[in-house]
């Protein structure tokens, strides 16, 4: 397998001022095309440190991927350091300069001298277009090692990798055939899932590997087949999946890059159904989960953020009596919220959330993490109580995942 090293440049990552999410994403993308990451390193904005790590990495790996240090300011020294490393100079790249000029023109802003510098790259570099920003990407080859330099801004880096670099790497390294399939599950923890599929996992053929990819509220299972013929691999991986699918079916919400909110959106479109939300503890987060999906206006009509009880009463017609007797965090309240928002907005479904996201506001009877959710439709209103134990952020996120998954099951 082709071996790669990933280098992150920047004091802000080295000193822990910002989180590095790039290297995880890059290594996971490389993994998918059969390139193995053998080391990740992070160094500061220091010429000496950068030169040293270039030297070391190029001795161990055939591919050295560098992110960061490409901004227009003085502490961004990656380009200059590449020049020193390759013993060359910065030259204006017409395409890079045209791109940065167009970028500013499109935004009605003038090109400053500092930003004009973004049009320069080392003389031995191949320019890699950045469709999302002004820092150019670069591809170098020397002594049978490929060096790639990308900006550290995650969406700029991802755009470059996806559009240009991953295909280019596959072609350049003639990487072996590899086939992935990802099953996405919700509502079951990693260790339970692992126990459930243990026998199947142990019986997998040697050239097919399983990886667990857990995140808050979700576990993804990825099967990867390595071999010569892609068609054969695809069939073999698919066969293995078909063996295990019935066992875990109830937790499976999608495959590949499917996000839960997209899966729900597609079901709503297919069924010609619409949705509205009445949010208390999620405070807009649930609406955002729907509306961050492009095209969601086909099924997401709107919602009421009834954070204050007055809004529950005035805009959602929740009975004062209900709030006084059972409290805002109660089954009765979410039932009224969901049914009333559904009627108000004339949608197929009305979704409601109410709970104590924390860290404050818990009581002995209703501790932090006590959340009620409800989904109303013409026929019935379904409710569920959640008992969550995470941070405020996690509790809001998990509430949203739970109600989306409940809606998914209803829509199936």
């Amino acid at each position: 397998m082709i071996q790669a090293e990933i280098i992150t440049i920047g004091d802000e990552i080295l000193y822990g001022q910002i989180t590095d999410t790039n290297t995880q994403w890059i290594s996971s993308e490389l993994d998918k095309i059969g390139i193995r990451t053998i080391r990740k390193s992070s160094v500061g904005d220091s010429e000496k440190a950068i030169l040293e790590i270039f030297e070391e990495s190029s001795k161990r790996a055939e591919l050295v991927i560098v992110t960061g240090g490409l901004g227009p300011t003085k502490d961004d020294i990656t380009k200059k350091t590449f020049c020193k490393y390759f013993n060359t100079e910065l030259v204006i790249n017409p395409q890079a300069l045209a791109d940065v000029t167009a970028f500013f023109k499109l935004r009605g802003r003038e090109l400053s001298n500092l930003n004009k510098g973004q049009g320069e790259i080392p003389a031995n570099a191949t320019f890699i277009q950045n469709t999302m920003g002004t820092a150019p990407g670069m591809w170098f080859e020397q002594d049978e090692v490929v060096y790639i330099s990308m900006p550290g801004v995650p969406f700029e880096m991802k755009g470059m990798m996806t559009l240009t670099l991953l295909p280019k790497l596959q072609e350049y390294f003639k990487t072996p055939s590899i086939f992935h399939k990802v099953i996405r599950t919700v509502g079951i923890g990693e260790s339970y899932l692992a126990e459930m599929i243990e026998m199947w996992e142990d019986a997998l053929p040697k050239h097919i590997k399983l990886a667990y990819l857990p995140s808050v509220g979700n576990v993804k299972l990825r099967l990867t087949g390595f071999g010569e013929d892609l068609k054969t691999l695809e069939t073999q991986v698919e066969e293995q999946f078909q063996k295990i699918l019935p066992t875990i079916q109830e937790y499976v919400y999608g495959f590949g890059n499917d996000e839960l909110e997209e899966v729900v959106g597609r079901l709503l479109i297919k069924n010609k159904q619409t949705v509205s939300v009445a949010e208390s503890c999620t405070g807009g987060y649930l609406g955002h989960q729907f509306t961050k999906v492009s095209g969601s206006s086909a099924y997401f009509i709107g919602g009421i953020l009834s954070y204050d009880n007055a809004v529950k009463i005035n805009q959602l017609s929740v009975k004062e009596e209900t709030l006084n007797t059972y409290g805002a965090v109660s089954e009765k309240t979410v039932i009224e919220m969901s049914e009333n928002v559904r009627k108000l907005m004339g949608t197929t479904f009305g979704l409601a959330t109410s709970g104590t996201a924390g860290p404050n506001g818990g009581t002995f009877e209703k501790p932090v993490g006590t959340i009620w959710i409800a989904i109303a439709s013409e026929k019935q209103t379904i409710t569920k109580q959640l008992t969550l134990g995470g941070s405020r952020e996690q509790n809001i996120h998990l509430t949203s995942i739970n109600i989306l998954n409940l809606l998914r099951k209803i829509c199936l």
Copy 2:
């Protein structure tokens, strides 16, 4: 300054299956006690790779911090590899064994042979207690380099660092004084800010360093002073900040760890003001920015997600004529949305957003990224048109930052 390297051991991080949050946390804690991280590395569960990185790191740094690979299973080889590196053997540590035995007893579980192994550490190691789990921490000294080994589970590692290791490191290394101050800006790009403060930056004394920490919509400026006396440093850093503050004042929204939505929340509390939102293109994201702050119920009353025009008309009383004549993405529409939601919810301010977040739905006259925002108060309604060029996610985020910052300025 004492120089440290941080090493993460484990295939799951190397191949991008899980996110490494440990190294960020560790380097940021070291930074606070004046220990400088000079490199971070991540290697797999391979004896060769681990020995190599131990060798390299100990040549560059006086402190080598290692996390991961301490679990009881076969693929966790950190302890054995330390033995090989130090040419020693695993021995039972009475304290470690007592701790792991007690851990299982407390949970009513029997100690398996696999877990009994957790009581062993290399003969030259000082045992560091793990109050949160079963993998022991270790402290080694050799040739004037300190090596620390900790489990990879974040809360176990954090417990060990906070309770034992950070105080021990401060004492051992007699660390110098260091003082940080962070200014947070919004509404100006990194390069414009850099040009604006260039002369000041160039004139900074050598022992005070400036770093730019950009993220989408924000740029943080961090000044770090190094020296002997903390009081003197604090005064010196503060003096430098006071010199530049008037120049950039209009962009400064906070200091240190202040988030924009928290700053706005504090202003609203101080002024005894309340807020409601009428969201079209942000679809709940703006409400979430307010409500993700603990205690936001003091000023955030609620909102209407008027994604569909029917909701704008029925729940927000936007005139059909306005929508027909000017369209949903127009100044007139956001004026009515903001004024009407304010009246509906009886708040000091009513905030409204309407625009085309993309990637689809743009027209020649109103391309993707055309966004109108408005803030209504008793006295007046302020509007602003944004022209954004990012992804859907970014356009939503930037719209939210823009309206929060506008509200901040009004509240000052």
